[in-house]
Amino acid sequence: MLKTEELTLNMGPVHPSTHGVYRCVLTLNGEYIQNAVNHIGYLHRGLEKLAESRTYNQFIPYTDRLDYCSGLANEMAYVLAVEKLMGIENEIPERAQYLRVICAELQRLASHGICVGSFALDIAGSTGFFYSFRDRDRALELINMIGGNRLTPNFMRIGGVAHDLDEYFLNELNQFCDDLPACFDEYEGLLAGNEILQTRSKGVSVVSKEMALDYGFTGPNARASGIDTDLRRDEPYGIYDRFDFKVPVLQNGDTYDRFVIRVMEMRESVKIIQQAIKDMPEGPVMAKVPKVIKPPVGEVYHRIENAKGHLGFHIVSDGSTKPYRTRIYSPTFVMLSAFPEMAKGTHIMDAVLILASIDIVLGEVDR
């Protein structure tokens, strides 16, 4: 009789496939996972506490550091929440609204680019990684033109955006959008159509619709499990009701669907950007807001469809220049709590892939 025993394996905190400083303790039976325990908090910077000692405008750059793959969209969520609290959401100039949509969708392209690329890398296909990061780098260069930083642009302001974007930027963006569909065809051929990737990911770690709702799945992960939801369509914030785009929904809820849906969403983002560039009017980019932001006493909860799910801000104001309480609802923090159940019973090499398909960013998980 062969002697067997359970093996406890530490994955992380510093490991390329954990996508940040995240530790997971796996209990293994042979190569199969019996139990997984999350350990997070290595990147906790206390942003919610910091917000209480910063003015409303001062907190905008901090939101870039939440999900550092989608800085512009985080800023948009925060400024929309503060504008709703102040009751000035209808005073934002048209051109600023269009610029915000362009920024948010460009950032979605960059963020999904990371997910697609690192998914390929986690399956040990480094070629796909470079195809995706080639295009993501162009998106980051455009973001660099917007705000002077590739990851933390600090471009949105309460009442509009920091400055207008010039013709040169829009031409480059147009060119980028024209080139992208051919790149997506490459991803679909090289990655999604790849037999090895399909065998590794199809039917692995199926998340049913009920389980997705139970665990609070939002964004692309929820849509991969057959939940037809998209805040841009269902509760349009900003001017999203003016654009024509499809919301892709897949039914299987396995690792493969969570990967493929991101490529499908990138196609829709390109369409939104092209429509926004075409329709964008001339005009001011900043509303007349007071220099010192003092929202009335009260509270607000606002969320947007971020690249990884719903990003929400619950802000309580006591009428002073600083928020009384800022709560950041981060989608990946909640979705990561489903990882132990998703990984249970799977092969250890699949656990890496399941983690990549949730698309976590530890800056947002730990805040």
Binding site: E48, L50, E235, E299, Y301, V334, S337
Partner: protein, 151 residues
């Protein structure tokens, strides 16, 4: 624009089913109801399962320390009707303790752990109420107002 549920009907239905447990909470959002802490699990189950409301997604769970009490705030959303409601629970300042709703939504599990960690609210019946973001030997709850930043 937010689509808000009919609060009068909702509160009436809850009070009829579970005894006086809910009331309308007046604030600037006009979408809040207040629920007694000991009835929260039944109320949340009802909100999730009642076919007229179907609040199937918990959008957010946060806690606020006011001078007079701790308030735990649940933001609920229905993907079927696209309406929302905010459920507030007021807790005693000296002993902030309430039942856990992690049996209703597993998503509440990690958020309750976070509020326990940072705000010091004890959720009874939680399967694994430990610190989640801070180290296990950390002393204090940073989001409380008496916790001063040192820099």
């Amino acid at each position: 624009m937010d689509k808000i549920v009919n609060r009068e009907a909702l509160v009436g239905e809850l009070n009829q089913k579970f005894g006086q447990c809910a009331e309308i909470f007046e604030d600037n959002t006009n979408q809040s109801i207040k629920v007694k802490p000991d009835k929260i699990v039944e109320v949340m189950k009802e909100l999730r399962d009642n076919p007229n409301y179907e609040f199937n997604l918990i959008m957010n769970l946060s806690a606020v320390e006011y001078p007079e009490n701790f308030t735990v705030v649940y933001h609920l959303n229905s993907l079927t009707y696209l309406h929302k409601v905010t459920v507030k629970v007021e807790l005693d300042k000296g002993n902030p303790q309430m039942p856990s709703i992690s049996s209703v939504w597993k998503a509440a599990d990690c958020m309750e752990r976070e509020e326990y960690d940072l705000m010091g609210i004890v959720f009874t019946g939680h399967p694994n109420l430990k610190r989640i973001l801070l180290a296990d030997d950390f002393v204090g709850h940073p989001l409380r107002k008496d916790f001063k930043l040192q820099a």
